[in-house]
Symmetry: C2
Subunit: 177 residues, 2 copies
């Protein structure tokens, strides 16, 4: 299949957010083994002026949600940023995955040259769909997902690159014997 | 322009590695202001069993280099992993950017369904070009770039999201008056 606006967005979000959910499971198991309250992860930061773990997850979810809503012309569901436990962060991820999956590929493919308006502090900014996805959404999404991973590693959770990448594509069937 | 194997790879690598080079400038300025040897950044780690800052930069560069070589069918230039200063890391980035820029778009576009063989510890793995780029190269590239950023932030270097993303696309000219 050729790369498209859909293939480069929704399946990427679904796959990576699914991986993040598995990190939450490992984080909870680590807290149980070390006998600490897993909600302490939510306020962990790598530097005092960086955002907390909970915020990293919320923004990663929002990067996916708003991308899909803006390029498809759909209305994004509103989620309060009030998660206060690992269970609630898991739910935030599940709601986000359910939403991005609900938008049909036909509403996303072909939006490469569509004008996308991105609200910013100093006024809305307009970008073409492809620039928006490649230069704004994907770096931002991966930034928050990777920072969440780094925070859990910094907190001692045993994660590795395989947890980050998730299951790799199955080897293709040989083209001939 | 529609999203393609080229647009989703080379310009992304060039842009993000260019951003990383600006972080190195800020890291050097921070070390000078705090009067420490900037080479201490090279061995910084977020957890004892995570890779060092130097290694994060080397692997981010290699993710870009090998992606371009494998999908285009070109031979990747060999770089020794022996950088021992910020200046040498900057040079590694420059060599990588020069290489990925040297491969013409025509050798990369249309490789969506090409079989790509990825050497791994337990034998080579075969993936279609598009799966390789979206599910393996880009998450891996962003993982190492973001971890390098997180390490500098953790070391006190004043970087923000604008440094991570770099200059955003210019607002498009209005389609009509």
């Amino acid at each position: 299949m050729p790369i498209t606006m859909y293939s480069a967005s929704v399946p990427v979000f679904v796959r990576m957010l699914g991986n993040v959910a598995t990190w939450l499971d490992k984080a909870e198991a680590h807290a149980a083994a070390k006998k600490f309250d897993p909600s302490v992860y939510l306020t962990a930061r790598l530097a005092p002026d960086m955002l907390s773990f909970a915020k990293q997850i919320q923004i990663a979810c929002d990067a996916a949600k708003f991308c899909v809503a803006r390029i498809s012309g759909d209305e994004a569901p509103k989620f309060e940023d009030n998660e206060s436990s690992i269970a609630e962060l898991r739910e935030r991820i599940a709601k986000t995955v359910a939403y991005v999956r609900s938008v049909p590929a036909a509403k996303i493919d072909g939006t490469d040259a569509k004008d996308i308006s991105v609200p910013r502090r100093d006024g809305a900014m307009s970008m073409k769909g492809e620039d928006y996805l490649r230069q704004f959404v994907l770096p931002n999404f991966y930034f928050h997902v990777t920072t969440a991973y780094a925070l859990l590693r910094h907190c001692g959770v045993e994660l590795g690159k395989a947890d980050f990448l998730g299951g790799l594509p199955q080897p293709s069937a040989p083209a001939s014997r």
